[in-house]
Subunit: 294 residues, 2 copies
């Protein structure tokens, strides 16, 4: 019988811890952690993500400021605002909701954020520090997955781990975190991607599979060995007439057939997803406490 | 019959190219590229490495400045000098020869170097940029290996690549470079290390093996499949009564028995080693031309 990795529950517990810490700061007369989010345009998905982040901040008592720009904003205008927030001592963490409109160079925007306020962990300084193994803001999804592995005491030492996908925000950082010479790490990591020829051969030998390729229900039962740990990062939206919203989320794993073979598995939704916002809250708290850079 | 990857020859060719470019800069009245090296103490190996770097700079016409400190130098003194060089427009690239004495925080020193002058590619900004896949100074050994792969037209696309070792300066960057979505890349990469349980099983399936664990003659013929490409990063010094110097270099690969099974293999010495200094020269030229940051 497999153990469901209940991201929703763990996320709830961590939120309570964060709320407790924020409360303590308040009681001691300290400055309340403060997150600023820049949102450009009116993309539906981005609006939803930002609304979730705002709600989560309110739940734990973190101050939240939303800064909106029209989607015809110039790059300079945006960079000026980022610079203003960099210099605003009242704001501890900042994120710019991606994607950005075409006239704006995303990489340039990311690099203009003060690394000490880069709670999304996208700035090259934070990516580099994570790789080197020194304190860094780790991006939300990998940080959330490591948190789940920790909470369920999943043994990674010397285990074979296959990461499917090599994106900058999930696949690559996950592979590095899993191979680090640390208690949560020390796995033998293989990274597969669109050019990999024999994915099934590789996943069949894996003790831990992290599916982050963004292809709905890619991982099937015949690709997984008995007792594997499966982490599903996929979130493909498909239409559905069975939900109130008219759509549902599909993971990269065919849950119903894969789960019976697993020792641990994350569901979609309710697995990795809820952890990502918690990672952002945690990074904002760390920023306010100056625990990464000091 | 295997093809020997002649690092010494390729390094010579690239040095000639660099010398040509420096000459052109000179003829056009431009500023000659200038590398500054900080050397602390009198460690024998460090003295040798720095002497080699100095000689290579002279060979290609790059200006070389050596700044020496006694091994009891304070961290502040060192940081002040780095800051001075950061602000010296005449100096394009700077390296601090490692290791440093105990009283000095190496990571802090590395991070104090202006990333735009960090021709060793050790600063988190350059590590992060390399991972993200944007222009970056790539550290000498991985850059040299990629150069060899390019020069011998070794196909990496969709190949399985096993990297043995997960160091910050070789194993981790090599794994990232080999998996990038680029012409030189797109390999399916597995990183093995001291905690890996079944290294032989993994290396036996690899099309490309990069041995960078620093254990002399670790990789033996029974671990390598027919036709594999083997890159040997090892440089263990052992005593020898057959050389004038009294010691010889051993790689991480048992060359004599492994080579016959290979399609391509690097010797030690004369394989990866000569490429590392060339990478440093190339990075210094790139720095002078402001080709990475602009």
């Amino acid at each position: 019988m497999y153990q469901l990795i209940d991201g929703k529950k763990i996320a709830g517990q961590i939120k309570e811890q964060i709320a407790g810490e924020v409360k303590k700061i308040k009681q001691q007369g300290g400055k309340i952690p403060h997150l600023a989010v820049i949102l450009v345009g009116k993309d539906g998905a981005s609006e939803t993500y930002v609304a979730h982040k705002e709600k989560a901040c309110h739940q734990v008592g973190i101050h939240f400021t939303l800064i909106r720009f029209e989607d015809n904003v110039s790059q300079n205008e945006l960079l000026n605002k980022i610079n203003e927030i960099n210099n605003n001592e009242n704001i501890d963490g900042m994120i710019v909701q991606l994607p950005l409109p075409k006239q704006i160079d995303e990489q340039k925007v990311i690099e203009s954020i003060d690394p000490e306020k880069d709670v999304d962990g996208f700035h090259p300084v934070n990516v580099g520090r994570m790789v080197i193994g020194i304190p860094a803001y780790i991006s939300a999804t990998p940080a959330g997955i490591m948190e789940l592995i920790k909470h369920y005491n999943i043994d990674t030492q010397g285990k074979s781990c296959v990461v499917i996908g090599r994106s900058n925000i999930v696949g690559k950082p996950m592979s590095i975190l899993m191979m680090q010479k640390k208690a949560l790490g020390n796995a033998t990591v293989t990274v597969c991607h669109s050019r990999t020829k024999n994915i099934k051969e590789l996943t069949l030998k894996a003790d831990i599979i992290i599916a982050a390729l963004g292809q709905a229900q890619f991982l099937t039962a015949d690709m997984v060995k008995e007792g594997a740990v499966v982490i599903d990062v996929g979130t493909t939206r498909v239409k559905s007439d069975k939900t109130k919203s008219g759509w549902k989320l599909l993971g990269d794993v065919k849950f119903d057939e894969v789960a019976p073979k697993c020792s641990y598995i994350t569901p979609v939704p309710g697995g990795v997803g809820p952890m990502t916002i918690v990672s952002l809250l945690k990074n904002t708290l760390l920023a306010a406490q100056k625990k990464i850079y000091n």
